[in-house]
Amino acid sequence: MGLRHDGARLRAIVQGLVRMLEALRACRPVELVEAELEIPFAGILPRGAASVGLEHFRSVSLVAEDIGSSSASDLWKIRISIGRNRASTVTVERYDSPAAS
């Protein structure tokens, strides 16, 4: 496959997922109480980036096979967290960070 995507496309995917999860939170007759999504990707964080955020990644790999062949130092994950009575959060962490409970 060898697909690489620009970071903006990844941000659009994440924003879409957050919007969908927020919609499920207000859904009837079944509502979302809590959700945790971890999306792995491979990308290079530019040197001198002030923080770890999606906006810093220019080029990313999203397909499992492409990510699997990347070096461990380039592996990241986006963590989307949403709860019933709290604002949704999106963070970027090293892939080997412990999973949320």
Binding site: L3, R9, L17, P29, V33, E34, I39, L62, A64, G68
Partner: protein, 178 residues
Amino acid sequence: MTPLPLRELLGTLVEGLIVAEGHAAAATVDFLRGAGFLGNNRSSDNWGQLRFVTFSFKTQEPTDQKTRTIRVPLLSLLPIPLQQIDQAEYEFFAKVNDVKQIDPAKGSPKSGSTVQGVARPYTDLVCEVAPYFFESAPGKKSSDPKVRVKLTMRQSDLPAGLASSLRRIEETSGSKPV
């Protein structure tokens, strides 16, 4: 399993719960009708006569022995199977096969609210559910990083409009002499 856009995969889980609730409600109606009423016409809205059970027993009165008969609706003697989802938890892994632009207007009805005219094309991860693995188990970790999904859902409160409608329906119900 056929790969699906991640949003559709998540939506399928919610849809599954709603369908399950529907099946549970239908099973309850079938039980009430079958156990509680006489009559075989399942297609009719008229459920027929309430099924009663009658039993008698002897009691010793001060002067003599009497037989007493009791007649009760069968439904009052049975536990009614009212199954409802209290809380549902999903946790699974998904392997990303592709990244695609999805146009709900060209896809299945599940992939967007085309009826309401609000569905717009979107980019999504096309995923398939992957075998579950415990991160704590040594040697079991998959070689390919995967999307991890954890969802907790529960039945929502009855919307105010529906509750109001049900109250009005209740007000119109009652008994009348035949």
